[in-house]
């Protein structure tokens, strides 16, 4: 049981619940509370069953908790007052012989101890030794859980979670308040033993209020809880008169001296708490799984968007879209002015073009054609990528946690709503690399055919141009005149290519070059952009925590049965 509890504590550490899904905030709080309870109560209690029982006196602000503790002890150990909330830091009263149980960090590790004076900060626990307290229990005066001071609420909740036994103080004016009842309900679900003190009852109202309170307790499943009624009265030196607290003191005394009864109470609340924690582990596992599913959903949407972009780019490449417009115009330049044939045919033509280009300062038609191709591909890739980013962001935005993620990374200086700054340059480099690799491919193909190798080594640029047209215009997305122009002239080129390399080789070359281009676009541009989204998600992936939680919860439950 102890092992399972420790394991649960470990699993609950830093649970991946970082996305603000509905219920995530509650789950985060629940996980923190579960850890706290494990450390403050379950694990210490499992280690030392014989430690004094911790009786926590809790209740609303102004209910008179401090007065009751003082009256029980018979001394002012916690200062009462009229200003609300009065008690801002808890006071633990114990028998001098049991100090060792409370001085260390065995329980309530997050709260520092102070002795011999009031605490100065809210997260300090004042220890007071009084022989009037039996050595089998310790009484804690907790701060309120419903005042404007949030720190009080946290400490009170922590103390109540660590208690073996609750003394719940309420008043005639308060007993129907909503806040205390939420605490009482959690006590019921934990199997916690609760004593109710109905304080400050105006004269004559005891019967009616008592009846109503008993009725409310019954409906909430606390019918067996003892109720102690104390009238509203003037204090005698800050303490209630003895006869008022006598029943409560007697009840505590009986519990302190009856080892068996005490053990039964401790056992019952321990079993209840562990059962509750096991169930909680299951619920947390659900929340973690939900996070996982959501992260996966977001990742899938990114995938969708970029896959669609890739498909659409591939389509544009195949059906000649890229060939249109400027590229076609350049192709016409190249073919129409005869430069292509010149290039394909002789080295002299090429040399002359070179000189001409050097003199006029204008790039050759082939180069311009290749520039146009690059430009066309770049534009398509850039735009589709931007579109994909838009789509992915659109999907994320639909869900508030997705929106929150976008905002979160924006504060870190990453703007996911726009493509990365280096996109243009990366795209340009990609196309350049691809064109270089097409040339390289052609050279290697040609090298095997020695007969034509020489001619080829001169005309490789022109051949590459022909090849590219073949890649972009294969399925004939061009219409009418365009086909005549592009197709007709490329057919000439194709024949030259085929003559040089062989028909089959040309076909496979076209296919290889295109596949290469598509692969590069997918990996170097779309992949990089998608990765930016996915890496943001990566931090929020819960991994196998959900399954671990369930497993540990199950271990706890089975250990409990044994």
């Amino acid at each position: 049981l102890l092992k399972a509890a420790t394991a649960l504590d470990e699993v609950c550490t830093d649970l991946p619940l970082s996305l603000d899904l509905p219920g995530a905030a509650e789950a985060r709080r629940a996980a923190a509370a579960a850890r706290q309870q494990l450390a403050d109560y379950v694990i210490p209690r499992l280690r030392d069953v014989d430690a004094p029982a911790l009786v926590v006196v809790g209740g609303s602000t102004g209910a008179g908790k401090s007065t009751i503790v003082n009256s029980l002890v018979g001394d002012e150990v916690s200062k009462p007052g009229v200003l609300r909330p009065t008690t801002r830091s808890p006071v633990l009263v114990h028998h001098p012989a049991t100090a060792m149980w409370f001085e260390g960090t065995r329980i309530l590790g997050g709260i520092s101890r102070i002795r011999g004076g009031p605490a100065t900060r809210s997260n300090q626990l004042e220890l007071v030794a009084r022989p009037s307290i039996p050595d089998t229990i310790a009484v804690v005066d907790a701060p309120d859980f419903d005042s404007v001071v949030d720190a009080n609420r946290e400490i009170a909740t922590q103390l109540l979670d660590a208690a073996d036994l609750w003394v719940f103080v309420t008043t005639a004016a308060r007993y129907a308040d909503a806040v205390p009842w939420t605490f009482l309900r959690s006590a019921v679900s934990r199997g916690m033993h609760v004593a109710i003190v109905l304080n400050r009852v105006p004269p004559g109202a005891a019967a009616e209020v008592g009846r109503h309170l008993a009725e409310m307790l019954r409906t909430e499943g606390l019918g067996t809880a003892p109720v102690f009624t104390i009238d509203e009265q003037l204090l005698d030196g800050g303490l209630l008169p003895d006869r008022s607290v006598q029943p409560l003191r007697a009840w505590l005394g009986a519990l302190a001296s009856d080892q068996q009864a005490r053990a039964a109470i401790i056992r019952r609340s321990l079993v209840g708490t562990i059962g509750e924690l096991a169930a909680q582990a299951d619920r947390l596992a659900g929340a973690v799984d939900y996070q996982g599913e959501f992260v996966q959903w977001l990742a899938d949407r990114v995938d969708d968007a970029f896959r669609r972009a890739h498909r659409s780019i591939a389509e544009d490449i195949r059906n000649g879209t890229v060939m249109r417009g400027e590229v076609l115009a350049r192709w016409q330049d190249l073919v129409g002015t005869g430069e292509l044939l010149k290039q394909l045919q002789s080295a002299i033509g090429r040399l002359r073009d070179r000189i001409g280009a050097a003199l006029s300062g204008r790039p050759q038609a082939t180069e311009r054609f290749q520039g146009a191709v690059s430009h066309g591909i770049e534009i398509v890739v850039r735009e589709r990528t931007a579109q994909a980013v838009d789509d992915a962001v659109g999907y994320w935005r639909v869900q508030p946690p997705g929106q929150a993620l976008l905002d979160e990374v924006r504060t870190e200086g990453v703007d996911l709503t726009r493509p990365e700054r280096g996109l243009d340059e990366r795209t340009a480099r990609l196309v350049r690399d691809w064109q270089a690799s097409v040339l390289e491919l052609l050279r290697r193909q040609g090298a095997g055919k020695r007969r034509t190798a020489k001619a080829l080594s001169y005309g490789v640029n022109g051949l590459a141009a022909v090849l590219m047209v073949g890649i972009f215009a294969q399925t004939g997305g061009l219409t009418g005149a365009e086909v005549v122009i592009a197709g007709g002239s490329s057919a000439v080129g194709h024949q030259v290519l085929a003559a040089v390399l062989g028909d089959q080789a040309v076909r496979s070359l076209t296919e290889t070059a295109r596949a290469d281009l598509e692969r590069r676009i997918g990996a170097d541009v779309l992949g990089v952009e998608a990765q930016r989204f996915l890496s943001v998600l990566e931090r929020h992936r819960p991994g196998d925590r959900g399954a671990r939680l369930r497993e540990v919860g199950h271990q706890l439950a089975t250990a409990l049965d044994r």
Binding site: R84, S147, V148, D177, V179, E326, L328, A329
Partner: protein, 552 residues
């Protein structure tokens, strides 16, 4: 003063209504819903007149709202009990001078949906409607819902707290902080003061005041300052005991003053409007939307021009110019070579049109390839850039709206761009020096020809062994040789120089063509992209201005 305040309120409500009309899609839907609710409640309340002031007694269970209600009324109207929570239904007590329920008050209570009504004759508090609300913190959820329903529509809040519960989170976190802007119409009564020892009372009241201040409520100044400013501008805190009657007189006097002033309604609505104005201001941010600036426009034109093929056209213009130039001023013997190449401009369908035809009216689809997806993608990129820049620094929903506005006429844009290229007037006239140089070339050619013929004649003479014709000489060189070689050399040089000038001219012309197309594209984009974007920016600016106007 009341009239002025009422007019001010009317103006603000009108502003709110205007804001509501332009706000959909530009402020978050929840804020829009609250704007609508606020205006509906305000106009509903104002419609029932300012003669009555509705004061709601609200507070925790057991704080003694009903006891205080009875104490103020001077009669036992509300059931008081020890069983919690006591009050189940909201009761109204109408104070009127003659003890008769007026139609105003009755219709107001109908509007508030309160059926449980009592009337009391009270000259001092005439016009006051006191509501005894159920608690907001008990286990009975229906009570909280009733409180939530009424708090937005009553005129004055009177929070009743007691020494036990005055620091409850349920009160401060859920209500007082929320209505922190309503300090002017808020009163807080610390009831059951008799249960606190007399020496502790001031400290308790001070502590309550401190908590209120922490909630963000202004505390009313008292005494001389109050007299000077003339109105309670913050929360008033009272200590009272319904049981002993202590302090009840003060509360009655305050209520009488507020009722007589008849400005609680306006103050309450003003506070509501402040609240919503704050929300809207937060939503719209404080970066003022500008307009698309000149530089962004220029870049858009350039990008669009490039997208529709300005570069290709400019190049065509350049080579076309060189080609015609060569045939005009080239060396005549090789001039014909230029004509072998097709005119690239004509191939694009942008060649010279017959003189005299008005190019601007001819909508001639060029044989430039139709707007391809590549171009469309480039146009999209250009539009996106403009929208991005225009939306820089603005709240997220606005940026999205600007992108939408920029793309709103996308389909028309593609078409218009295409048409504009076709009708763009490209420089096509022949430079004047062509004719001159052309003539010069012919002259030089003639000179060369003369020399050649002369040489030929001389040669024929020599071949026929005819007596040598005396050849005039210039220095050591004979004239015919000089004429032939000199004419040829001069022609080639002039041709080369002319060619070089044509390259330069062609380049200049290409630049001009590019500028023309860019300008044409910009003209289109101005209407179809920048226009809608600027419209949206203007509307957003209006939303911001209205939200500023809504603040006081």
């Amino acid at each position: 003063m009341n009239d002025r305040a009422a007019t001010g309120l009317e103006t603000r409500l009108a502003t709110l209504q205007q804001l509501e009309q332009v706000a959909p899609g530009r402020v978050p839907p929840e804020v829009l819903a609250r704007m609508e609710g606020t205006r509906r409640r305000a106009t509903g309340r104002v419609a029932h007149g300012l003669t009555n002031t509705v004061v709601a007694l609200a507070g925790a269970t057991g704080s003694g709202k009903s006891s205080l209600f009875n104490a103020i009324a001077g009669a036992t109207l509300a059931a008081v009990g020890v069983r919690r929570p006591t009050t189940m239904v909201t009761q109204a007590l109408v104070f009127s001078a003659d003890g008769v329920l007026g139609t105003d008050a009755s219709s107001l209570l109908d509007w508030l949906k309160i059926g449980d009504r009592h009337i009391t004759a009270d000259r001092e508090l005439d016009g006051l409607i006191l509501l005894d609300l159920p608690d907001h913190d008990s286990t009975v959820i229906a009570h909280r819902q009733e409180v939530e329903r009424l708090l937005p529509i009553v005129d004055v809040f009177m929070w009743v707290v007691d020494p036990q519960k005055y620091a409850d989170a349920a009160l401060h976190h859920d209500y007082l902080r929320r209505f922190a802007g309503h300090a002017e119409v808020t009163m807080v009564v610390l009831n059951q003061l008799d249960t606190v020892a007399p020496q502790d009372r001031t400290a308790t009241l001070d502590d309550l005041t401190r908590l209120l201040r922490e909630d963000g409520l202004d505390i009313a100044s008292i005494g001389i300052i109050k007299k000077l400013t003339g109105r309670p501008e913050g929360v008033r805190v009272f200590g009272a005991s319904a049981r002993t009657g202590e302090g009840v007189g003060d509360i009655r006097r305050e209520l009488a003053a507020r009722t007589a002033e008849r400005r609680a309604v306006i103050a309450r609505i003003d506070a509501d409007l402040d609240w919503i104005a704050g929300d809207v201001t937060t939503a719209v941010g404080d970066v003022a939307p500008g307009v698309v600036d000149r530089r962004a426009m220029a870049e858009l034109g350039e990008a669009l021009g490039r997208a529709i093929g300005a570069d290709a056209i400019a190049d065509a213009v350049e080579s076309s110019h060189e080609r015609s130039g060569r045939s005009a001023v080239g060396w005549p013997p090789t001039r014909w070579l230029a004509r072998l190449r097709p005119d690239p401009l004509r191939r694009l369908g942008l060649g010279r049109r017959p003189a005299g035809s008005d190019t601007s009216t001819v909508v001639d689809r060029t044989s430039l390839p139709p707007m391809s997806r590549v171009m469309a993608a480039a146009v999209s990129s250009a539009v996106r850039t403009v929208a991005d820049r225009a939306g820089n620094g603005l709240p997220e929903p606005w940026r999205r709206r600007i992108v939408e506005a920029a793309n709103s006429r996308r389909a028309d844009l593609d078409d218009a761009l295409d048409r504009n290229v076709a009708t763009a007037e490209l420089p096509a006239d022949q430079p004047r020096w062509w004719r001159f140089v052309g003539t010069l070339q012919w002259l030089l050619a003639a000179v060369m020809l003369v020399g050649l013929v002369w040489l030929l004649v001389l040669g024929v003479f020599g071949w026929l062994r005819l007596p040598e014709v005396p050849t005039p000489r210039l220095g050591a060189l004979p004239w015919p040789t000089l004429l032939a070689v000199g004419g040829a050399l001069a022609g080639i040089v002039v041709g080369a120089v002319g060619g070089w000038m044509n390259v330069v001219g062609g380049r200049r012309r290409a630049a001009r063509a590019r500028a023309t197309i860019t300008e044409a594209a910009l003209g289109v984009a101005g209407d179809l992209v920048v226009g809608p974007v600027n419209n949206e920016l203007e509307t957003l600016g209006r939303v911001q201005a209205l939200s500023r106007a809504l603040r006081r």
